[in-house]
């Protein structure tokens, strides 16, 4: 058994990783995080064991990149320069989706990560706990709290949902 071409990895997991990056970091930083994640993954790919869970591996890299990005932003108060072709947030998310996006953004960091890794990336609670720290039970609680919070904020703005 050998590793499939990296192109297959991008095709199969690119969309999920972008959703995770958008949920964890918000749309403005998501594309940079996606790019850094896949570039780091490409570099490390030949050393990946062929029977690995590729999606969990990518989410782990994305998680570390997100932490690095957070530290960098804290160190540099100036806004990071954006590529000119990066579309404005409003073009990417229709109004209704944007409400959910802001509800996700309003979650405490850990709940946001746990919800994204569990429900968007479909990682097991064991994998989620390994990423964010703490026990599996604590990850479960964070996810439940996160969803409850999300429902509360989101429904307040969208009573029809």
């Amino acid at each position: 058994m050998s590793l499939p071409p990296f192109e297959t990895v991008v095709a199969e997991h690119g969309a999920v990783v972008l959703r995770v990056c958008r949920a964890v970091l918000g749309p403005a930083d998501a594309e940079d995080a996606w790019s850094e994640t896949f570039l780091a993954a490409l570099r490390a790919y030949p050393r990946l064991r062929p029977d690995s869970d590729v999606r969990a591996w990518l989410v782990t890299i994305a998680h570390r990149k997100a932490i690095d990005g957070y530290r960098t932003r804290r160190r540099s108060p100036l806004p990071v320069e954006r590529l000119p072709h990066e579309p404005a947030t409003a073009d990417v998310f229709p109004e209704r989706d944007q409400a959910l996006q802001s509800a996700v953004a309003a979650l405490p960091a850990k709940q946001r990560q746990v919800v994204a890794y569990r429900y968007l990336a479909d990682l097991s609670y064991a994998d989620v706990a390994a990423l964010v720290g703490g026990t599996e039970a604590a990850a479960r609680r964070s996810a439940a709290d996160g969803i409850a919070n999300l429902r509360r904020t989101y429904r307040k703005e969208n009573p029809d949902e």
Partner: protein, 196 residues
């Protein structure tokens, strides 16, 4: 996914993912070991792949592009990405060849997929001019192993760079065109193109 609420989060649109893919290829630089693209030709969609050393693979649709890419990942490197820009010159020369406007490919080749006698045969094949043909026996003789006629046939059948290394110009001593990895019709089409 077990939470319906999150279904309302937007999916990544294909345009965004295409743009991110292109950005990844640009950023990859020397970390991308195998770049590939397809080229539309009268003989179907050809897969072309290159390493830093040069063009490493040309494949007919009959070889199964997915299988060819999997083999490249296993034998060369799994760092494989679709990167059309890196193969623009290859695509242009193949276009020109099929338009009858190019007789010689001016490309750097990476022959790492052929070893030993098979590589000797490929070197001999490159000496057969556009529009000319040689017999399997003549190619065997030219490699210094006149008895290895069957091995020459095998080397042609496994040519990693068909069209660019002209195994289609090798025919049977009785004049029959013989087998071809792209199928006998493709071989006939190439010989007809070069004869016109």
């Amino acid at each position: 996914m077990s939470n319906k609420l999150l279904h309302a989060l937007p999916d990544a649109d294909p345009g965004t993912l295409d743009r991110l893919h292109a950005r990844l290829v640009d950023a990859a630089g020397a970390d991308l070991d195998v770049a590939y693209r397809t080229v539309d030709t009268p003989l179907g969609s050809l897969l072309v792949a290159a390493t830093a050393a040069g063009l490493v693979r040309v494949a007919y649709p009959a070889e199964g592009h997915e299988d060819v890419l999997a083999a490249l990942a296993a034998r060369v490197s799994p760092r494989v990405l679709r990167a059309p820009g890196r193969l623009d010159d290859v695509a242009r020369q193949i276009d020109d060849y099929f338009a009858g406007q190019r007789r010689v490919f001016d490309l750097v080749l990476d022959l790492q997929l052929a070893h030993g006698f098979r590589r000797d045969v490929l070197t001999q094949l490159r000496a057969i001019d556009y529009g000319a043909t040689a017999s399997y026996a003549a190619v065997a003789a030219a490699t210094g192993r006149p008895a290895a006629v069957r091995a020459v046939g095998t080397a042609c059948a496994r040519n990693p760079l068909p069209i660019v290394i002209p195994c289609h110009r090798v025919i049977r001593s009785d004049g029959a065109i013989g087998a071809y990895l792209g199928g006998p019709q493709a071989k006939q089409a190439l010989l007809t193109l070069e004869a016109s």
